[in-house]
């Protein structure tokens, strides 16, 4: 279970070029947007692609992202219950 969270952190750092951060810098409950990691709307698009590419989850409604991309824990929970690969 924690492997998925570590994997997610690694993917986010690589995909979003968060060169300044390491896996240890991201807490599982940190906000990904706003005051947390400070991600923005372009990052949200990148995360939607990441979900589909790595886990086979296709978000048909972009508004779903607001509930899924809250934190690493929330993302991992959603992936665990919806992944197709």
């Amino acid at each position: 279970m924690s492997d998925l969270r570590t994997e997610l952190k690694q993917s986010i750092i690589e995909q979003l070029n968060l060169e300044e951060l390491s896996i240890e810098d991201i807490d599982n409950d940190d906000s990904l947007f706003g005051d947390g990691l400070g991600l923005d709307s372009i990052d949200a698009l990148e995360l939607i692609v990441l979900l589909e590419k790595d886990y086979g989850i296709k978000l048909t409604d972009p508004n779903q992202g607001k509930e899924i991309f809250i934190s690493i824990n929330k993302m991992a929970e959603y992936i665990e219950s919806h992944r197709t690969k």
């Binding site: 995909q15 979003l16 070029n17 968060l18 060169e19 300044e20 400070g38 990148e46 692609v49 590419k53």
Partner: protein, 354 residues
């Protein structure tokens, strides 16, 4: 009557530094493609914005901010950018993703940032500048076109006082190396400083960003007056000489009034014959300088020569590494930049000490 335009701030990123040239310690490269020396971009761009920028955006934004800081200007009235080849790194990244992922699940960042006007847009976003913002992409005439537009804008709108104008181009893995296939680059890898002694076809290339803050007020620290800029086509060496003479006359000068001519020689055996002819005729009595052995040749490289000219005016020093002949341009007042690209696109930029 047209308004006089001055360069009051300069910012440059290239394969050389001010110190390497003016202290006569040029940086040596042993490849026909070499990269610019990057400053610490974090000093100019917030880390969260920096992380998704390719080299051309980082260089353009940083050089733009350097020019503004140098001129002590916080917010320009307009931003005008020239780029011959635009955001090649992001274009390649996007195209490679299309191929590897069978045109599916493409990430948006590289696509968004692959358009030529990304640099000008990012400068505006960073400065929160909502003024006139245009990007010119006319191959080797891109920077010159941006300069012409800057002068026109300052003349058409007297309420505007500050224009940030510049040129930027980057090296990329694949598109830049296509130069080996179409003859732009020399087949044999050479040392950059031997560019003019190798008698072979092709040249060397690199990248850079050169931004200038223009205004119509001559301040104490103005670097230069931008007297004139033009692009032209010509069929013969006689016609080239005529066009140069005509351009100088339009600016009330003759060739003998020039203290320095900056020539865009790039070591290509065929193309340099055009420069040789000029060196032996209308510029035979003028101090002749070259720069592409230091900067490499690329579409907006004349920005490097403008930057050097500004520093020559300011320091009243002509580095020996630039010299093509023995004539010394003491106390230079008038500098002409002549560039020829792809054997077809000619450009002239005339700078005068303010």
């Amino acid at each position: 009557m047209s308004r006089t335009v001055y360069i009051i701030g300069i910012g440059a990123i290239s394969a050389q530094t001010e110190e390497s040239i003016f202290l006569e310690k040029p940086i040596i490269y042993n490849s026909n493609i070499f990269q610019a020396i990057s400053p610490n971009f974090k000093e100019y761009i917030p880390a969260m914005a920096l992380r998704r920028m390719s080299q051309v955006i980082k260089m353009g934004l940083t050089a733009g901010k350097m020019a503004l800081q140098d001129a002590n200007v916080e917010l320009p009235d307009a931003i005008i950018t020239g780029t011959g080849e635009g955001c090649k790194q992001d274009t390649e990244k996007f195209l490679e993703s299309m191929l590897s992922q069978q045109e599916e699940l493409l990430t948006p960042t590289s696509f968004i940032q692959s358009t030529h006007n990304t640099v000008g847009g990012q400068i505006a976003l960073n400065l929160k500048c909502s003024g006139y913002n245009v990007t010119y992409s006319q191959e080797s005439a891109s920077l010159e076109s941006a300069l012409i537009d800057s002068v026109l804008l300052l003349n058409e709108k007297p309420s505007l006082n500050s224009v940030l104008v510049g040129g930027v181009d980057e090296v990329s893995n694949r598109i830049t190396s296509f130069g080996y296939l179409n003859g732009f680059l020399k087949e044999e890898e050479i040392e950059n400083l031997s560019l003019f002694s190798k008698k072979s076809e092709g040249t060397i290339t690199s990248e850079g960003a050169f931004f200038f803050n223009l205004t119509t007020e001559n301040i104490k620290d103005s670097y230069a007056q931008l007297k004139g800029v033009t692009n032209f086509k010509a069929e013969s060496s006689i016609e080239i000489s005529e066009k140069i003479t005509e351009f100088l006359l339009k600016n009330s000068l003759r060739s003998q009034d020039l203290d320095i001519v900056f020539l865009g020689k790039n070591g290509d055996l065929e193309q340099d014959k055009v420069y040789d002819e000029l060196q032996n005729t209308i510029f035979s009595e003028t101090c002749q300088l070259a720069y592409k052995h230091l900067s490499g040749d690329f579409k907006t490289v004349t920005g490097f020569a403008i930057w050097l000219s500004c520093l020559i005016f300011k320091k009243q020093q002509i580095p020996a590494i630039l010299k093509l002949n023995a004539i010394y341009g003491a106390n230079p007042k008038n500098i002409l930049l002549y560039n020829l690209s792809s054997n077809t696109n000619h450009s002239l930029i005339l700078l005068q000490k303010p």
